[in-house]
Protein backbone atom coordinates (compact mmCIF):
# COMPACT_ATOMS: atom_id res chain seq x y z
CA UNK A 1 0.00 0.00 0.00
CA UNK A 2 1.49 3.36 -1.03
CA UNK A 3 1.82 6.26 1.39
CA UNK A 4 -0.84 8.19 -0.51
CA UNK A 5 -3.42 5.41 -0.38
CA UNK A 6 -2.63 4.77 3.32
CA UNK A 7 -3.13 8.46 4.04
CA UNK A 8 -6.45 8.55 2.18
CA UNK A 9 -7.62 5.40 3.96
CA UNK A 10 -6.77 7.06 7.30
CA UNK A 11 -8.69 10.19 6.35
CA UNK A 12 -11.67 8.04 5.37
CA UNK A 13 -11.60 6.30 8.76
CA UNK A 14 -11.49 9.65 10.58
CA UNK A 15 -14.43 10.94 8.52
CA UNK A 16 -16.44 7.78 9.27
CA UNK A 17 -15.81 8.01 13.02
CA UNK A 18 -16.62 11.75 12.98
CA UNK A 19 -19.91 11.07 11.19
CA UNK A 20 -20.84 8.45 13.79
CA UNK A 21 -19.95 10.76 16.67
CA UNK A 22 -21.67 13.93 15.38
CA UNK A 23 -24.84 14.82 17.23
CA UNK A 24 -27.29 17.66 16.81
CA UNK A 25 -29.38 16.72 19.84
CA UNK A 26 -30.08 19.52 22.35
CA UNK A 27 -29.08 17.15 25.16
CA UNK A 28 -25.92 15.09 25.54
CA UNK A 29 -26.40 11.56 26.80
CA UNK A 30 -24.25 10.05 29.53
CA UNK A 31 -24.32 6.35 30.31
CA UNK A 32 -27.42 4.30 29.55
CA UNK A 33 -30.38 5.69 27.63
CA UNK A 34 -33.24 6.90 29.81
CA UNK A 35 -36.18 4.52 29.97
CA UNK A 36 -38.63 6.14 32.37
CA UNK A 37 -41.02 8.84 31.20
CA UNK A 38 -42.28 10.11 34.54
CA UNK A 39 -40.23 12.28 36.84
CA UNK A 40 -40.09 12.04 40.59
CA UNK A 41 -39.68 15.40 42.27
CA UNK A 42 -36.31 15.90 43.95
CA UNK A 43 -38.09 17.76 46.74
CA UNK A 44 -40.45 14.82 47.31
CA UNK A 45 -37.50 12.42 47.47
CA UNK A 46 -35.61 14.60 49.94
CA UNK A 47 -38.70 14.99 52.11
CA UNK A 48 -38.93 11.23 52.67
CA UNK A 49 -35.85 9.53 51.19
CA UNK A 50 -36.42 6.20 52.95
CA UNK A 51 -39.63 5.74 50.99
CA UNK A 52 -37.66 5.73 47.73
CA UNK A 53 -34.65 3.58 48.66
CA UNK A 54 -34.12 0.81 46.10
CA UNK A 55 -36.46 2.41 43.57
CA UNK A 56 -35.55 3.15 39.96
CA UNK A 57 -36.27 6.87 39.59
CA UNK A 58 -36.03 9.64 37.03
CA UNK A 59 -35.40 13.17 38.25
CA UNK A 60 -34.97 16.49 36.50
CA UNK A 61 -33.39 19.71 37.60
CA UNK A 62 -30.55 22.16 37.33
CA UNK A 63 -27.03 20.81 37.83
CA UNK A 64 -25.67 22.73 40.81
CA UNK A 65 -22.45 20.84 41.50
CA UNK A 66 -20.07 18.45 39.73
CA UNK A 67 -17.13 16.40 41.02
CA UNK A 68 -14.14 18.50 40.03
CA UNK A 69 -11.59 15.71 40.06
CA UNK A 70 -13.23 12.89 38.17
CA UNK A 71 -16.75 13.97 37.18
CA UNK A 72 -18.00 11.02 39.22
CA UNK A 73 -20.98 12.79 40.76
CA UNK A 74 -23.23 15.74 40.19
CA UNK A 75 -25.87 17.44 42.29
CA UNK A 76 -29.34 18.17 40.92
CA UNK A 77 -31.35 20.96 42.53
CA UNK A 78 -34.79 20.45 43.97
CA UNK A 79 -37.73 22.81 43.63
CA UNK A 80 -37.01 24.62 46.88
CA UNK A 81 -33.98 26.62 47.97
CA UNK A 82 -31.12 24.56 49.37
CA UNK A 83 -32.40 21.23 48.10
CA UNK A 84 -30.01 19.10 46.09
CA UNK A 85 -29.80 15.41 45.30
CA UNK A 86 -26.41 13.86 44.71
CA UNK A 87 -26.15 11.57 41.68
CA UNK A 88 -23.17 9.24 42.03
CA UNK A 89 -21.86 7.24 39.11
CA UNK A 90 -19.18 4.61 38.85
CA UNK A 91 -15.76 6.24 38.41
CA UNK A 92 -14.82 6.38 34.75
CA UNK A 93 -18.01 4.73 33.51
CA UNK A 94 -19.88 8.04 33.32
CA UNK A 95 -17.98 11.32 33.54
CA UNK A 96 -20.00 14.48 34.11
CA UNK A 97 -18.37 17.66 32.77
CA UNK A 98 -17.75 20.56 35.15
CA UNK A 99 -19.20 22.83 32.49
CA UNK A 100 -22.62 21.24 33.09
CA UNK A 101 -23.20 23.45 36.13
CA UNK A 102 -26.29 25.57 35.67
CA UNK A 103 -27.66 23.40 32.86
CA UNK A 104 -30.81 21.32 32.97
CA UNK A 105 -30.42 17.57 33.43
CA UNK A 106 -32.60 14.49 33.38
CA UNK A 107 -31.20 11.58 35.33
CA UNK A 108 -32.19 8.01 36.03
CA UNK A 109 -30.85 5.83 38.76
CA UNK A 110 -31.47 3.75 41.83
CA UNK A 111 -32.03 5.50 45.15
CA UNK A 112 -29.49 4.44 47.78
CA UNK A 113 -29.15 4.88 51.50
CA UNK A 114 -25.55 4.99 52.70
CA UNK A 115 -24.82 4.47 56.37
CA UNK A 116 -21.32 5.52 57.33
CA UNK A 117 -19.45 4.68 60.49
CA UNK A 118 -17.58 7.49 62.23
CA UNK A 119 -14.34 6.42 60.48
CA UNK A 120 -16.00 6.25 57.07
CA UNK A 121 -17.68 9.63 57.60
CA UNK A 122 -14.30 11.11 58.50
CA UNK A 123 -12.68 9.60 55.41
CA UNK A 124 -15.47 10.87 53.19
CA UNK A 125 -15.29 14.39 54.64
CA UNK A 126 -11.54 14.41 54.17
CA UNK A 127 -11.93 13.31 50.55
CA UNK A 128 -14.55 15.99 49.90
CA UNK A 129 -12.35 18.69 51.47
CA UNK A 130 -9.49 17.56 49.24
CA UNK A 131 -11.78 17.61 46.22
CA UNK A 132 -12.92 21.17 46.93
CA UNK A 133 -9.45 22.34 47.89
CA UNK A 134 -10.60 23.31 51.39
CA UNK A 135 -9.08 22.55 54.77
CA UNK A 136 -10.35 19.41 56.45
CA UNK A 137 -11.72 19.98 59.92
CA UNK A 138 -12.26 16.59 61.68
CA UNK A 139 -14.25 18.27 64.46
CA UNK A 140 -17.14 18.75 62.01
CA UNK A 141 -17.74 14.99 62.06
CA UNK A 142 -19.20 14.00 65.37
CA UNK A 143 -20.49 10.51 64.71
CA UNK A 144 -21.88 8.00 62.22
CA UNK A 145 -23.93 9.49 59.38
CA UNK A 146 -26.62 8.53 56.92
CA UNK A 147 -26.72 9.94 53.41
CA UNK A 148 -28.94 9.33 50.42
CA UNK A 149 -27.93 9.43 46.80
CA UNK A 150 -29.10 8.34 43.40
CA UNK A 151 -26.81 5.73 41.88
CA UNK A 152 -26.87 7.15 38.36
CA UNK A 153 -27.39 4.83 35.42
CA UNK A 154 -27.87 7.38 32.70
CA UNK A 155 -28.37 11.09 32.20
CA UNK A 156 -29.20 13.67 29.59
CA UNK A 157 -27.69 17.11 30.11
CA UNK A 158 -28.75 20.15 28.12
CA UNK A 159 -26.02 21.39 25.78
CA UNK A 160 -24.51 24.71 26.83
CA UNK A 161 -23.72 27.58 24.45
Amino acid sequence: MSFRSSFLAGLGLVALVSACATTEAPFTQYGEALTLTENTSVSAILADPDAYVGQHLRVEGTVVGVCEMRGCWMAVAGENDGEQLRVKVEDGVIVFPMTAMGLHARVEGIMEKIELTMEEALAQAEHQAEEHGTEFDPSTITGPSVTYQLRGLGAEIENGD
Partner: protein, 187 residues
Amino acid sequence: MKKIQWRKWNRLIHRDLGYLCAGLTVVYAVSGLAVNHVRDWNPNYKTTESSFNVGPVTAEDPRSADTVEEILRAGGLGSTYRDTFRRDENTLDIFLDEGRVTVDLPSGEASVEFIQDRRVLQEMNQLHLNQPRGLWTYMADLYAVALLLLAITGLFVIKGKKGITGRGAWLTTVGVLIPLIFLWVYR
Protein backbone atom coordinates in the same frame (compact mmCIF):
# COMPACT_ATOMS: atom_id res chain seq x y z
CA MET B 1 11.56 -26.71 2.25
CA LYS B 2 12.24 -23.00 2.56
CA LYS B 3 13.09 -22.00 6.13
CA ILE B 4 10.70 -19.42 7.59
CA GLN B 5 12.63 -16.22 8.29
CA TRP B 6 10.85 -15.55 11.57
CA ARG B 7 13.30 -12.89 12.69
CA LYS B 8 12.73 -10.89 9.54
CA TRP B 9 8.96 -11.06 10.08
CA ASN B 10 9.44 -10.18 13.73
CA ARG B 11 11.37 -7.03 12.75
CA LEU B 12 8.80 -6.14 10.11
CA ILE B 13 5.88 -6.49 12.52
CA HIS B 14 7.73 -4.56 15.22
CA ARG B 15 8.63 -1.74 12.82
CA ASP B 16 5.18 -1.27 11.28
CA LEU B 17 3.27 -1.65 14.54
CA GLY B 18 5.64 0.94 15.98
CA TYR B 19 4.70 3.40 13.27
CA LEU B 20 0.99 2.63 13.70
CA CYS B 21 1.08 2.98 17.46
CA ALA B 22 3.22 6.10 17.71
CA GLY B 23 0.34 8.59 17.68
CA LEU B 24 -1.80 6.69 20.17
CA THR B 25 1.16 6.08 22.42
CA VAL B 26 1.73 9.83 22.65
CA VAL B 27 -1.98 10.29 23.52
CA TYR B 28 -1.91 7.62 26.23
CA ALA B 29 1.45 8.73 27.64
CA VAL B 30 0.61 12.43 27.89
CA SER B 31 -2.84 11.70 29.28
CA GLY B 32 -1.37 9.10 31.65
CA LEU B 33 0.92 11.74 33.16
CA ALA B 34 -2.01 14.15 33.41
CA VAL B 35 -4.53 11.86 35.09
CA ASN B 36 -1.91 10.23 37.32
CA HIS B 37 -1.68 13.54 39.21
CA VAL B 38 -5.41 14.26 39.36
CA ARG B 39 -5.11 14.99 43.10
CA ASP B 40 -2.66 17.80 42.43
CA TRP B 41 -4.31 19.48 39.49
CA ASN B 42 -7.35 19.21 37.27
CA PRO B 43 -6.26 17.62 33.97
CA ASN B 44 -9.50 18.49 32.18
CA TYR B 45 -10.33 22.02 33.26
CA LYS B 46 -8.44 25.17 34.00
CA THR B 47 -10.10 27.17 36.76
CA THR B 48 -9.24 30.75 37.61
CA GLU B 49 -10.69 32.66 40.52
CA SER B 50 -11.41 36.30 41.21
CA SER B 51 -13.63 38.21 43.60
CA PHE B 52 -15.55 41.45 43.96
CA ASN B 53 -17.91 43.01 46.48
CA VAL B 54 -21.40 43.98 45.50
CA GLY B 55 -22.43 45.15 48.98
CA PRO B 56 -25.00 43.42 51.19
CA VAL B 57 -27.78 41.85 49.11
CA THR B 58 -30.99 42.67 50.91
CA ALA B 59 -33.52 41.92 48.15
CA GLU B 60 -36.43 39.79 49.32
CA ASP B 61 -35.76 37.35 46.50
CA PRO B 62 -32.04 37.31 45.66
CA ARG B 63 -32.78 34.93 42.79
CA SER B 64 -34.92 37.48 40.95
CA ALA B 65 -33.59 38.40 37.51
CA ASP B 66 -33.16 42.07 38.46
CA THR B 67 -31.05 41.27 41.53
CA VAL B 68 -28.93 38.67 39.76
CA GLU B 69 -28.26 40.97 36.80
CA GLU B 70 -27.33 43.77 39.19
CA ILE B 71 -24.81 41.49 40.92
CA LEU B 72 -23.32 40.39 37.61
CA ARG B 73 -23.06 43.95 36.31
CA ALA B 74 -21.30 44.99 39.53
CA GLY B 75 -18.68 42.33 38.83
CA GLY B 76 -18.36 43.32 35.17
CA LEU B 77 -19.77 39.96 34.14
CA GLY B 78 -22.48 41.13 31.74
CA SER B 79 -26.04 40.19 32.51
CA THR B 80 -26.64 36.77 31.03
CA TYR B 81 -26.62 33.67 33.16
CA ARG B 82 -27.82 30.09 33.02
CA ASP B 83 -29.54 29.64 36.35
CA THR B 84 -29.24 30.32 40.06
CA PHE B 85 -29.25 28.22 43.20
CA ARG B 86 -29.79 29.34 46.78
CA ARG B 87 -27.42 26.93 48.47
CA ASP B 88 -28.37 28.12 51.93
CA GLU B 89 -29.88 31.18 53.54
CA ASN B 90 -26.69 33.21 53.07
CA THR B 91 -25.30 31.82 49.83
CA LEU B 92 -26.39 32.32 46.24
CA ASP B 93 -24.79 30.54 43.29
CA ILE B 94 -25.13 32.13 39.87
CA PHE B 95 -24.18 29.87 36.99
CA LEU B 96 -22.66 31.43 33.89
CA ASP B 97 -21.61 29.86 30.61
CA GLU B 98 -18.02 30.43 31.71
CA GLY B 99 -18.29 29.37 35.35
CA ARG B 100 -19.92 30.20 38.67
CA VAL B 101 -20.34 33.20 40.93
CA THR B 102 -20.88 32.45 44.61
CA VAL B 103 -22.27 35.36 46.59
CA ASP B 104 -22.27 35.66 50.37
CA LEU B 105 -25.50 37.62 50.64
CA PRO B 106 -24.99 39.37 54.01
CA SER B 107 -21.55 40.73 53.10
CA GLY B 108 -21.95 40.93 49.34
CA GLU B 109 -18.59 39.24 48.85
CA ALA B 110 -18.69 37.40 45.54
CA SER B 111 -16.16 34.84 44.37
CA VAL B 112 -15.99 34.01 40.70
CA GLU B 113 -14.74 30.71 39.39
CA PHE B 114 -14.07 30.67 35.66
CA ILE B 115 -13.94 27.19 34.16
CA GLN B 116 -12.20 26.55 30.87
CA ASP B 117 -11.71 23.28 29.05
CA ARG B 118 -8.10 22.23 28.68
CA ARG B 119 -8.38 21.70 24.94
CA VAL B 120 -6.42 18.80 23.42
CA LEU B 121 -5.43 17.44 26.84
CA GLN B 122 -9.10 16.98 27.76
CA GLU B 123 -9.72 15.14 24.48
CA MET B 124 -6.65 12.96 25.12
CA ASN B 125 -7.98 12.12 28.59
CA GLN B 126 -11.38 11.26 27.15
CA LEU B 127 -9.79 8.77 24.77
CA HIS B 128 -7.48 7.36 27.46
CA LEU B 129 -10.39 6.79 29.86
CA ASN B 130 -12.61 5.47 27.06
CA GLN B 131 -15.33 8.03 27.58
CA PRO B 132 -16.56 7.84 23.97
CA ARG B 133 -17.25 4.09 24.41
CA GLY B 134 -18.78 2.48 21.29
CA LEU B 135 -16.29 2.00 18.46
CA TRP B 136 -13.48 3.49 20.51
CA THR B 137 -13.64 0.51 22.90
CA TYR B 138 -12.61 -1.80 20.04
CA MET B 139 -10.00 0.65 18.83
CA ALA B 140 -8.47 0.77 22.33
CA ASP B 141 -8.56 -3.05 22.50
CA LEU B 142 -6.73 -3.24 19.19
CA TYR B 143 -4.17 -0.76 20.48
CA ALA B 144 -3.64 -2.84 23.62
CA VAL B 145 -3.09 -5.98 21.54
CA ALA B 146 -0.71 -4.04 19.29
CA LEU B 147 1.26 -2.89 22.35
CA LEU B 148 1.48 -6.48 23.52
CA LEU B 149 2.82 -7.54 20.14
CA LEU B 150 5.24 -4.62 20.16
CA ALA B 151 6.57 -5.72 23.53
CA ILE B 152 6.96 -9.36 22.50
CA THR B 153 8.49 -8.67 19.09
CA GLY B 154 10.73 -6.04 20.68
CA LEU B 155 12.39 -8.75 22.75
CA PHE B 156 13.62 -10.50 19.62
CA VAL B 157 14.62 -7.64 17.31
CA ILE B 158 18.33 -8.03 18.02
CA LYS B 159 20.30 -11.21 18.52
CA GLY B 160 23.63 -11.69 20.15
CA LYS B 161 25.20 -10.07 23.23
CA LYS B 162 22.82 -7.12 23.22
CA GLY B 163 19.80 -9.31 22.49
CA ILE B 164 17.44 -11.23 24.73
CA THR B 165 20.13 -13.78 25.59
CA GLY B 166 22.52 -11.10 26.88
CA ARG B 167 22.00 -7.51 27.99
CA GLY B 168 18.33 -7.75 26.94
CA ALA B 169 17.67 -10.50 29.47
CA TRP B 170 18.93 -8.37 32.35
CA LEU B 171 16.96 -5.30 31.34
CA THR B 172 13.82 -7.35 30.75
CA THR B 173 14.19 -8.92 34.20
CA VAL B 174 14.55 -5.47 35.80
CA GLY B 175 11.43 -4.33 33.95
CA VAL B 176 9.43 -7.29 35.25
CA LEU B 177 10.78 -6.92 38.78
CA ILE B 178 9.87 -3.24 39.16
CA PRO B 179 6.07 -3.76 39.33
CA LEU B 180 6.55 -6.91 41.42
CA ILE B 181 8.64 -5.02 44.00
CA PHE B 182 6.02 -2.26 44.21
CA LEU B 183 3.25 -4.84 44.63
CA TRP B 184 5.25 -6.53 47.39
CA VAL B 185 5.95 -3.21 49.16
CA TYR B 186 2.36 -1.96 48.97
CA ARG B 187 0.54 -5.23 49.62
